[in-house]
């Protein structure tokens, strides 16, 4: 066979992404193992990468103490929704299989540095962390468990907002989750909202913003309307720091920005301080 008609051999290389994490903010290469050991925070620029719900729970709950609540509540398809390509029911089933979780949030009872809490963590891999009916129901059940058990509630958000494939049912989860949390707070219990990247749309405009304490990780995207929508509406460019946790802190909507490595210690200290008398 002539050399020029020979099929080229497959290049001898392992894809970069398999061994290295490439920071989305600064482009720095970090060995995967080192990146994981650093809690998925870029060692060069400090950008906080996204954690899965299970990783977040492992970060905050004492080992072996997390008992999941409402695991049987899973995403439903109330509208029989179908877009140009996919049926929502199929998409959500595939997402369930891929992520191993039934909805975009995992909630449960746990100990945090020995303190009994109810803890929830959203997972951006699940339909962009969107707020579906199952998500809302899980949050409601978490809030009701916290009330029943007289424990603080901690919810870590990571979401693009409402899940439009569930239509108005999804929008109503904003009211539902806020109602559940308001009841909890009215009974003198503590609710801490931990916003992680991203926390936008209907999630920012509901349970994420009504914490007794609102905290966020550094450089987290937090906002109601999308950047492009705003730029088109007001016909001007937005400053780069717009809708970051630093911007929200400056404008008075966050109590504190807490780095991931300090998050558990911060929560433990604050929970002890506020609830010591009870």
């Amino acid at each position: 066979m002539a050399w020029f008609s020979k099929a080229p051999e497959a290049p001898l290389r392992v894809p970069t992404e398999a061994l290295w994490n490439v920071c989305k903010k600064c482009g720095a290469y970090t060995p995967k193992a080192e990146y994981a050991a650093n809690l998925k925070v870029c060692p060069r620029c400090g950008a906080h990468g996204r954690l899965t719900a299970r990783e977040r729970i492992a970060l905050l709950a004492d080992e072996g103490t997390f008992e999941e609540i409402a695991a049987e509540v899973i995403a439903h398809d109330p509208l029989g929704f179908r877009d140009a390509k996919d049926a929502y029911a199929e998409k959500v089933a595939a997402t369930r299989a891929k992520t191993g979780i039934g909805e975009s949030i995992v909630v449960g009872a746990a100990l945090l540095d020995g303190i009994p809490v109810v803890l929830g963590a959203m997972d951006f891999r699940f339909m962009g962390g969107s707020l579906g009916s199952g998500t809302g129901e899980r949050i409601l059940q978490a809030a009701e468990a916290a009330r029943r058990l007289r424990r603080p509630l901690i919810l870590c958000t990571a979401s693009g907002g409402a899940r439009m494939q569930e239509g108005l049912v999804s929008l109503m989860q904003m009211a539902k989750t806020c109602a559940a949390i308001q009841r909890l707070r009215d009974e003198g219990l503590l609710y801490v909202s931990v916003m992680t990247d991203p926390t936008t749309g209907g999630v920012s405009a509901s349970f994420a913003m009504v914490g007794d304490l609102n905290v966020a990780e550094p450089k987290t995207l937090i906002g109601f309307a999308g950047r492009r929508v705003i730029e088109t509406t007001i016909k001007q460019k937005l400053p780069p720091e717009f809708q970051t946790s630093e911007y929200l802190l400056e404008h008075g909507f966050l109590d504190k920005i807490v780095a991931r490595k300090d998050l558990k210690a911060f929560l433990a200290k604050t929970l002890r301080f506020l609830t010591a008398a009870k």
Binding site: P78, S133, E137, L168, M174, F207, F224, I230, T233
Partner: protein
């Protein structure tokens, strides 16, 4: 008056997760398509808050300001008498003329608007008055100042506080119920909706541009979103559909104002019979049941 009967149950209908197959409904709820309904809901001559107010109570007393930074003209709040009933009225204010539309930001409120509405609704709680919320907005205003002053926080706080407000709350979706900007004043004991109004988590155009990657697919998205009164009643998210004159409210605004008034009075009369503790408990149960599905 030709209002539909009060809701039989607060619970959302139990539904199986739909099969992957086309969920073709057996019979469409109403004659106009979803996209035609969107056009009626946005019709330039559709009665607005200002028209309802003029018909019900030209002497209504508007109350201004959120007591923090501003008075948002896109949100009305005030004291009105509807058919002899003293109420606190809040609602999105769109304009009719171009000048009005610009002045009222096309009915898209800033955080100041939501905070003003909440402040005035507290008066109802204090003085034992029912609240009527008229919903008609494309959404909360997407702006730099709106974000800087906490659009998300303002809406979130309203959702939380309205859920326990000790006053009867009647919500009427009169035109466009646009997403969080609509919901920010729409946590109530009775959710009424005009026949050809729409209520949706996202505009059909927005949904089409994301899921179809083409804003021109809005008619398909409108259909898929089930944003019409008939569908929303079936889904248990709306209690009462208020019928409109043939072809839509714009064809007979006076008659529409009368029908809506009667529906509001009926709802208030019904809610007045419920003790406040019970009312707040029922409101919680109502929203808790939304999106809860039996397998």
């Amino acid at each position: 008056m030709a209002t539909t009967k009060k809701p039989a149950a607060k619970k959302a209908p139990a539904r199986k997760p739909a099969a992957a197959k086309k969920p073709a409904p057996k019979k469409a709820p109403a004659a106009p398509s979803a996209w035609e309904t969107v056009q009626i809901a946005r019709h330039p001559n559709r009665p607005l808050l200002l028209d309802y107010l003029a018909a019900w109570d030209p002497e209504a007393c508007e109350l201004h300001g959120d007591r923090l930074v501003a008075d948002d003209p896109a949100m009305f709040a005030g004291l009105a008498t509807i058919g002899g009933e003293r109420v606190v009225l809040v609602g999105h204010r769109k304009g009719r003329t171009t000048e009005e539309k610009i002045a009222y930001r096309f009915g898209m409120a800033n955080p100041d608007g939501y905070r003003k509405a909440m402040r005035v609704m507290r008066l109802a709680e204090k003085f034992g008055l029912p609240i009527v919320a008229l919903v008609d907005t494309a959404g909360a205003f997407p702006g730099l100042d709106a974000e800087a002053r906490g659009q998300a926080e303002a809406i979130a706080k309203n959702l939380a506080e309205m859920s326990t407000l000790r006053a009867p709350i009647v919500v009427v979706v009169t035109g466009e119920g646009g997403s969080g900007g609509a919901l920010g004043i729409a946590v109530g004991d009775r959710i009424l909706m005009l026949e050809h109004a729409i209520y949706s988590v996202i505009s059909p155009e927005g949904c089409a541009s994301i899921l179809w990657r083409d804003g021109k697919m809005a008619p398909q998205a409108a259909e898929a979103l089930k944003l019409t009164s008939g569908w929303l009643k079936r889904l248990g998210l709306v209690d009462t559909i208020i019928p409109e004159p043939k072809g839509g409210a714009q064809n007979d605004p006076a008659q529409t104002a009368e029908t809506v008034k009667q529906a509001i009075l009926d709802a208030i009369a019904e809610l007045r019979k419920i003790p406040l503790d019970e009312l707040v408990a029922q409101r919680y149960a109502k929203f808790a049941a939304m999106g809860r599905f039996a397998d």
